[in-house]
């Protein structure tokens, strides 16, 4: 498995576990680091956007107006994809 695939798997796994909550990239990063993965925040954000750009999108992106923070959440297609992986 290459690095990008591993990061996509990690992002999707975290978002499905937190489903339907919206998760900021900082939390994705912190959780991945705690489990011993050296993924950078930028990499996680990039792969989360990749998953959001798929058809159907596996991840939904939203903006918190109060904090101007980008948040990610798994879509139902994302949950189904994760369960059949």
């Amino acid at each position: 498995m290459n690095r990008s695939s591993a990061i996509r798997d990690e992002v999707l796994m975290q978002l499905v576990a937190a489903f339907p909550a919206q998760v900021p990239v900082e939390r994705l990063h912190k959780t991945a680091r705690r489990s011993g993965f050296d993924f950078a925040e930028l990499e996680l954000r990039k792969e989360a956007h990749y998953l959001a750009g798929l058809n159907p999108p596996l991840v939904a992106v939203s903006h918190d107006a109060a904090t101007n923070q980008e948040r990610f959440a798994a879509t139902s297609a994302g949950v189904a994809h994760f369960e059949n992986q």
């Binding site: 498995m1 591993a6 499905v16 937190a18 909550a21 998760v23 489990s35």
Partner: protein, 203 residues
């Protein structure tokens, strides 16, 4: 740092996900390797796959290899997933509770409070707690009890945990006393054996 996950190779890895998941759950529930072999070799979905790939029937060694590789990875991932899910549920419950108590979650102070709570949750590592509980179960129970006492819902659970700790301590002390008596008397009387069994049953 962890290595990137590798694609599993081998006979079991070549089976459909539904069957692998079924197999992993059976392993988790304590099925023996021979039972798993029988399960796979009698499964109507597995036979055509084996025939198509020109493989023979599953044997205990195939399953033993899977237990050490694919199953171990699956178990670890499952544990991580459950831990993350637990924290997400705790976050959602906290937000719901604060909102029901009339707190405006968009208020700057509430946002800060939630950030602090989120950080506390992030720092709570269930895997580390499980490891610690193996060596010092009593200390882990006490720690959980203290943590639970911090929330209103947790007060009842804290009392329950405290009771368990006390019962554990009492039972351990009783068992220790009995063992001392047994050692002194040079053997295990019927009465002492019964009392030890009662104490152990309390644990």
């Amino acid at each position: 740092m962890n290595e990137l996950p590798r694609k599993e190779l081998g006979k079991v890895a070549g089976l459909p996900k539904a069957i692998r998941d079924d197999l992993n759950l059976r392993l988790l529930n304590g099925a023996t390797l021979q039972e798993l072999c029988d399960f796979l070799n009698s499964n109507p979905t597995v036979q055509p796959i084996l025939a198509a790939k020109g493989w023979g029937e599953f044997n205990v060694e195939n399953l033993s290899n899977w237990r050490q590789s694919g199953y171990a990875t699956w178990l670890k991932s499952r544990q991580r997933f459950e831990d993350i899910k637990l924290k997400a549920e705790a976050r959602a419950a906290l937000r719901q509770q604060l909102a029901s108590e009339g707190l405006d979650l968009n208020d700057a102070n509430a946002t800060r409070l939630l950030e602090i709570a989120d950080d506390l949750l992030d720092d709570f590592d269930p895997a580390a707690l499980r490891e610690a509980a193996k060596d010092k179960p009593l200390a882990a129970l006490r720690w959980l009890s203290d943590l639970a006492a911090g929330t209103s819902e947790g007060k009842r659970k804290a009392a329950e945990l405290e009771l368990k700790v006390r019962r554990y301590e009492e039972a351990a002390a009783k068992a220790k006393d009995k063992l001392t008596i047994v050692k002194r008397e040079g053997g295990l009387s019927e009465e002492a054996r019964r009392q030890i069994e009662e104490a152990v049953a309390l644990l």
